[in-house]
């Protein structure tokens, strides 16, 4: 049995068997929410016991819940590790369980309490609440032993899974304590000063093996697409190519002739096929003849529309929605001696997670309840969406947790589209149904990082100081599509598009950053880094343009801008040292630097590239990166995430683009949507600079490499490529144009 999984043989019904588990396990269980001190005494078999964060078993095994969705970024290990370290548990005795979708207990404090893993904020958000909980658990253990031995609790200390009397040396294990201890109805009060100093962490700061790695090298890791159930059918969905469109005419004659096909089901947004084999479902889908209702997005063409976006960004006379404002930008511009202006664009990008979206649903005979298996970033949304599809309520939905084959933002939408496919088909036939999207489906049904256009204006005084900063971004906003309720909650600000545009670490006294919304009905999504990679491309390119205008070294120029951020300067200096920036260009390669403050994580990158002037091909040879994430919970994992995001976003920087013609996505698979392969890999060197600040995020931060690559390309060829991806034809066009650096 895999260590991280709830033992389903013992507890076939993980959500509802908690009561049974607590009564029979004879363990010490703490059921507390992160928001308060709602202690519930163990050993009471009646009443709503809820679900626990930790159970200490008499045999010494300690079961700790992990509340985040792990899609490779390591949170399944790091969150329980934080808990285990603070309570002084022996990590070798810890078994991690994936928490059920109980948002009151497990909600993410960084997202207002919903269970949602995104934004690189799991460790950052759960860090202190988990430690406070764990410290209380430890204190209960100490109090229990103190009472038993008749000594003051302050005479006791802990070693991993052991309580020790400092005076007598007497020891007792956590397992032995669990056999007699009781969780008090009022948990002991813990303040921050009771928490371990960072220097006393035993596991945090050193790397433990991520617990699910073994299952990922022997094929045993189970993703939703792997689920096998008795009486299960396979489903395939032909979805409307344009959002809001519905099937008008459906001709299923040819589809029904495919051997193994059971039924065709008309849905509000597409047509589903049910078959006894996956291959029959796919084949039947190919044989459907469907016409679609018209929409207002039928004539949308992305390559043309971006000109409209660029015009809107440039037209500062119209009103935009303010994102960030400080000082008096108009006054600063009027006294500026030099004014620079620049424009940038970025295309739609596709997530391309390796597991094509899929889900398994088993709706009951009444059509009210269901068991679901789905790789989701938002278990609460999954349960709600399934319930809504059945016209039922969330308590009737049982979510089974599975591994997730890449998420990058695609799996956290409030409508959980790929899950609802399975629920609706299963509801129709009252049998378990596994809906698998082909890669073509995954691209055509894709929800993309929005296309953007940027206009930037900077004012410099007579001493070359950057005194005025104006940035207007024109784009649609992904949050409006993927989570209308949260979009409303944030006052309909284009929060995802604008993230990072305020550049908090730079000293920019007079600035105005705003947004002009475009709404074109394209399916959109948050996607690794959200606005940061496009914004880094635009603003860090512009910073270089300013530096060059002043004849300043781009590194020195940024060090000055970071005058109020010693942590920022440390990171930038570290990457300059790593890359030997001062040596300058070598082997004809261009060198480019980029600095970003993303969500409190400070990251600096330098890229070395060469550009083939004949073909326009860019080759990235090196990326050096230094990052300050505060406390580094799992340093090697942090490095892996930086490497990963740099590699991932290389695609958006160089060749990934989705184009939409007449409202429809033009690309289909990896032959016409190129993603980074091992042959594209630059030499990546990472330095993690841990500091004693609380941990901040890392999963997305490598995506800021776009700025470094853009600047390196400009350094190599002497002209700016102003649209991302910087494809060969765009590079050639820039070289051929007369505009200078």
């Amino acid at each position: 049995m895999r260590a991280y999984q709830v033992d389903r043989d013992a507890n076939p019904d993980p959500i509802f068997s908690r009561r049974r588990l607590l009564a029979t396990a004879a363990g010490l269980t703490f059921a507390v929410s992160l928001r308060g001190v709602d202690a519930i005494a163990a050993a009471t078999a009646d009443g709503p016991l809820g679900t626990a964060w930790v159970t200490i078993q008499p045999d010494g095994v300690i079961r700790i819940m992990s509340a985040a969705t792990d899609f490779g970024q390591g949170s399944m290990t790091s969150l329980p590790l934080i808990f285990a370290d603070e309570m002084d548990a022996d990590w070798s005795k810890v078994r991690v369980e994936l928490s059920p979708p109980d948002e009151k207990l497990y909600g993410n404090p960084g997202f207002g309490g919903i269970m949602y893993t995104a934004g690189s904020n799991a460790v950052q958000s759960y860090f202190k609440p988990l430690r406070m909980q764990a410290a209380q658990v430890r204190r209960v253990l100490l109090d229990s032993v103190a009472a038993r031995w008749g000594v003051p609790w302050s005479q006791l200390r802990t070693e991993p899974s052991v309580v020790v009397d400092k005076v007598s040396g007497r020891k007792i294990s956590y397992g032995e304590i669990a056999a007699f201890a009781r969780v008090p109805s009022k948990l002991p009060e813990i303040t921050e000063s009771d928490l371990k100093p960072f220097s006393e962490f035993r596991y945090i700061g050193k790397d433990v093996m991520r617990i699910e790695i073994p299952s990922k090298v022997d094929g045993s890791a189970q993703y939703a697409i792997d689920v096998q159930l008795p009486n299960m059918l396979y489903g395939a969905i032909l979805r409307a190519p344009i959002e809001g469109s519905a099937p008008q005419t459906v001709d299923g004659k040819a589809a029904l002739k495919v051997r193994g096909v059971v039924k065709i089901v008309r849905l509000p947004y597409g047509v589903g096929v049910l078959a006894s084999t996956a291959e029959a479902a796919f084949s039947a889908k190919e044989n459907l003849k469907v016409s679609w209702t018209k929409t207002t997005s039928d004539s949308f063409n992305s390559d043309q529309a971006i000109d409209r976006y660029a015009a809107a960004a440039k037209n500062l006379g119209t009103e935009g929605k303010i994102w960030d404002k400080d000082g008096d930008v108009d006054a600063a511009f009027s006294r500026a001696k030099i004014i620079l202006e620049s424009a940038y664009r970025t295309d739609y990008v596709y997530h391309g997670q390796m597991e094509p979206l899929n889900a398994v649903a088993s709706v009951d005979q009444k059509g009210e309840g269901a068991e679901i298996w789905v790789g989701t970033q938002a278990p609460g949304y999954a349960v709600k969406a399934a319930a809504q599809a059945l016209g039922s309520s969330p308590e009737k939905i049982k979510l089974h947790r599975v591994m997730t084959g890449g998420a990058f933002g695609r799996r956290g939408h409030s409508d959980q589209d790929f899950l609802v496919d399975a629920v609706l088909l299963s509801k129709d036939v009252k049998r378990p149904v596994k809906v698998i999207w082909t890669r073509e489906d995954d691209v055509h049904n894709g929800r993309f990082k929005p296309m953007t256009a940027h206009f930037l204006r900077a004012g410099l005084d007579e001493n070359g100081n950057l005194i005025a900063w104006r940035h207007r971004l024109s784009s649609d906003e992904a949050l409006a599509f993927q989570d209308p309720a949260r979009f409303k909650f944030f006052g309909e600000k284009a929060i995802l598009a604008l993230l990072g545009a305020e550049q908090p670490a730079y000293d920019l006294p007079n600035r105005l950053i705003d947004h002009v919304r475009q709404e074109d009905g394209v399916r959109l999504s948050s996607m690794r880094g959200v606005g940061n990679p496009p914004n880094a491309f635009a603003t860090e390119s512009f910073m270089d343009e300013i530096a060059r205008k002043l004849n300043k070294d781009p590194f020195e120029f940024r060090m000055e801008l970071l005058r109020k951020s010693p942590r920022g300067q440390a990171v930038l200096k570290a990457v300059a040292d790593m890359s030997d920036w001062k040596r300058g260009r070598r082997d004809g390669q261009g060198l480019g630097v980029c600095f970003r403050d993303e969500g409190g994580t400070l990251v600096a990158m330098i890229a070395a590239v060469s550009v083939d002037r004949k073909s326009g091909e860019i080759k990235v040879h090196n990326v050096w990166t230094a990052a300050d994430v505060g406390l580094a919970v799992q340093p090697d994992n942090i490095a892996a995430q930086l490497e990963g995001a740099i590699t991932y976003t290389l695609g958006a920087a160089l060749f990934e683009r989705i184009t939409i013609k007449d409202g429809q996505v033009e690309q289909s698979n990896f032959y016409d949507y190129r993603v980074p392969r091992i042959t594209d890999l630059p030499d990546i060197e990472v330095k993690v600079l841990p500091t004693d600040n609380p941990p901040t995020g890392i999963g997305e931060m490598g995506g800021n490499v776009t700025g470094a690559i853009a600047n390196a390309v400009a350094d190599a060829i002497g002209v700016r490529v102003r649209q991302m991806p910087m494809t060969p034809d765009r590079v050639l066009a820039a070289i051929g144009s007369s505009s200078g650096k």
Binding site: E212, I213, V217, A407, T647, F670, P676, I678, T679, L681
Partner: protein, 150 residues
């Protein structure tokens, strides 16, 4: 009935001959370690060995393996003891893990023919396998380690 050897065991299936081996393995035989990624022979998630050579199981039909020996990730070892698997754990290669079966099968095929590949040879060979999480740097290190440690 089409007969072949799967991880050393004889199997016979009464499934249409043109059925892709990927779906035979995953959904008919319920061995799900071999992954579906693109269905077009472009991503490598579905890689298996057929008579010792790596092959895209999404591009291989059942009739193609008649009388042949197929190895999947499950058959590489019973206990993660294949040198490539050991190296993969030591180097902490996997992130989401979905592409990793195919990566490992691809790497194992390389090392069965080339005991000491250069970095360039590793990169050339492994370009058939996409990893969207970006574990390529560690894949290279792991293959080098597996070659070293055997």
């Amino acid at each position: 009935m089409i007969n072949f050897k799967l991880n050393g065991k004889a199997v016979g299936l009464d499934v249409p001959a043109e059925t892709r081996l990927l779906w035979v393995i995953r959904e008919h035989l319920k061995m799900t370690g071999t992954r579906f990624g693109c269905g077009a022979g472009l991503c490598g998630a579905c890689m298996v060995h057929v008579n010792g050579e790596r092959a895209f199981s999404c591009q291989t039909s059942l009739s193609d393996v008649k009388g042949k020996s197929v190895t999947t990730i499950e058959g590489l070892s019973t206990d993660r003891s294949h040198p490539v698997q050991k190296a993969w754990i030591a180097e902490r290669v996997p992130q989401c893990g979905y592409c990793q079966s195919g990566q490992i099968m691809s790497a194992a095929a390389l090392l069965s023919h080339n005991k000491n590949p250069s970095r360039a040879e590793i990169v050339e060979h492994m370009q058939t396998n996409i990893c969207r999480c970006g574990t390529y740097k560690r894949i290279i290190k792991a293959v080098e380690r597996a070659a070293r440690e055997g």
